[in-house]
Symmetry: C2
Subunit: 237 residues, 2 copies
C-alpha cells in the first residue's frame, strides 16, 4: 500500500520504519521539507536529524503534509503533535478527504504559564486540552468531516505499537475508536500486520476522550516502572 505518515518525530519514525520494512510505499509529510532536511543537530527530544534517518531507510519519500496525504492510496497516520494537529490537518483537508486518518496525538499543553500545572515527583506534567467533555480525536473529526478519523495507538509508546511482541510476548491490548467501521478495520488490519492479536473496538470517536485521558495514567505507570521501561496494558476478561 501507499501509506502517508504526517510528522518526522520519534513516534512517526517508528511507523515509517516499520511500514517500509513491511514493504509499503511510505510517503512522509512535514511542514517544510527543506527545513527538515537542513537540520543537522538532534531536536529537543534528542531525536537525531531526519536526514540521518532517511539515509538509513532508503526508498522513503519526504513531502509537504499535503503532498504526502495526496500520495496515500487510503491510509494516513497522523504523527503531528497534538497542539498543532487540528490547524495543520485542516489546512490539507481536501487532500485527506475520503481517506482514513489514524490519529495517536495527545492534546498536551506544555505552556509553562498554565494556571495549574501538574506537579509530579518527576517534574511538572502538562495538562490536556481538550479534556473530559471533548477530545482531540473529535476535534479532528469535526474539522475534517470527509475524513474517516480513527483514534488508535495512543495508549502506548509508538516503539511498542509497531513491535507489540517486544513486551510480554505481545499479549496486550490495543484500542481503536471512530465513526467508520471500515476505517477501523483498516487500522486493525495494519495493527495485525504489526503483530497485534488483541485489538479492541471502543466504539465511536467519543471514546477518544478516555483514550487520550489515559495519558496521565500511562505517565504514572511509566514513572513507577522506571523511565525507559516499555510496557503495555492488557484487558483481562
Amino acid at each position: 500500500m501507499k501509506i502517508a505518515v504526517l510528522g518526522t518525530g520519534g513516534g512517526a519514525r517508528c511507523h515509517i520504519a516499520k511500514l517500509a520494512g513491511l514493504g509499503h510505499e511510505v510517503h512522509v509529510g512535514t511542514r517544510d521539507p527543506e527545513a527538515t532536511l537542513a537540520r543537522t543537530e538532534p531536536d529537543m527530544m534528542g531525536t537525531p536529524p531526519f536526514k540521518d534517518f532517511l539515509a538509513e531507510h532508503p526508498g522513503i519519500t519526504l513531502h509537504t503534509f499535503g503532498e504526502a496525504a495526496a500520495a496515500s492510496d487510503g491510509l494516513v497516520i497522523n504523527g503531528i503533535d497534538g497542539h498543532n494537529a487540528v490547524a495543520a490537518l485542516s489546512a490539507i483537508a481536501g487532500r485527506l478527504a475520503g481517506k482514513t486518518l489514524a490519529d495517536y496525538a495527545v492534546p498536551y499543553i506544555y505552556n509553562p504559564d498554565i494556571e495549574r500545572p501538574w506537579p509530579t515527583p518527576w517534574g511538572v506534567n502538562p495538562i490536556l486540552d481538550p479534556c473530559d467533555s471533548d477530545s482531540l480525536g473529535e476535534q479532528i473529526q469535526r474539522a475534517l468531516p470527509a475524513t474517516k478519523v480513527v483514534k488508535a495507538f495512543v495508549t502506548q509508546e509508538q516503539a511498542t505499537v509497531v513491535d507489540p511482541k517486544s513486551i510480554g510476548g505481545g499479549d496486550h491490548t490495543m484500542f481503536v475508536a471512530g465513526e467508520d467501521s471500515g476505517a477501523k478495520q483498516q487500522v486493525t488490519d495494519l495493527l495485525t500486520s504489526y503483530g497485534w492479536s488483541d485489538v479492541l473496538d471502543l466504539g465511536g470517536i467519543v471514546a477518544a476522550r478516555g483514550m487520550e485521558m489515559y495519558a496521565h495514567m500511562h505517565g504514572a505507570i511509566g514513572f513507577a516502572l522506571g523511565f525507559g521501561t516499555h510496557f503495555g496494558i492488557k484487558v483481562v476478561r
Copy 2:
C-alpha cells in the same frame, strides 16, 4: 482488624462482605443509620435494602460515619460517592486523624444541566470534576491533612477488587497512590489478603488524577465488552 467502611452502596458492600468473610470486625458508616435501616425498597441502582444485606451478614455493625471511623483501629475505606466525599469526610476529620483512608471514589458529576455532557452510544456519560489539574484524592488529602489518604481500587468494579481471581486467574494489576508509604503498604496488604499479586505503587497522591481519569476508558472498555462483563487491566512489561 477493626476496619471501617464508609458507605452502604453496592461497592461498599463488596468490601464489607469480603472483610467480614476474612474475619475482620467491620464497622459500617452511613449518614443516618435509622434512615438506612428504614429503607425497604431497592435504591435507584437496584441495590437491595441494606437491612436485607445486614441480615445475610451477621456481626456487622452500622453506625454514623463518625462512629464507624472512630471504631476503626487504623484502616478506613471510603465508599461515599465522589460528589459528597469531601464534605462528608471533612465533617468527621477528627475521627479520621492518624488513620489510613483508602479512597476509590470517582468525582463524577451527573447533573443533567452540565454544559457539555458526554454523549456516548450508551447514553450520556457524566463528566469529572475535578479533572486533569486536580483530583478528588488530592482534595480529600488537602481537606484531611492528618489522615493518610491512599487512592486505590478505583480502576475496577469493586466486585472484582475484592475477588481478583474471578478474572483471568487473577493476573491483573491494581494501583495505589498516596503520600505515606506505610499507609500504602497497609492497603497493599489488604489487597494481598483479597487475592491480589500485582499491586503497583504509582507514587504520590497526585497520581490519583490519572487513576480517576481512567474512569472514561474503563467505561468505554466495559461497553465494548458488553455491560456486565467483569474485566481488569494488566500492566504487561
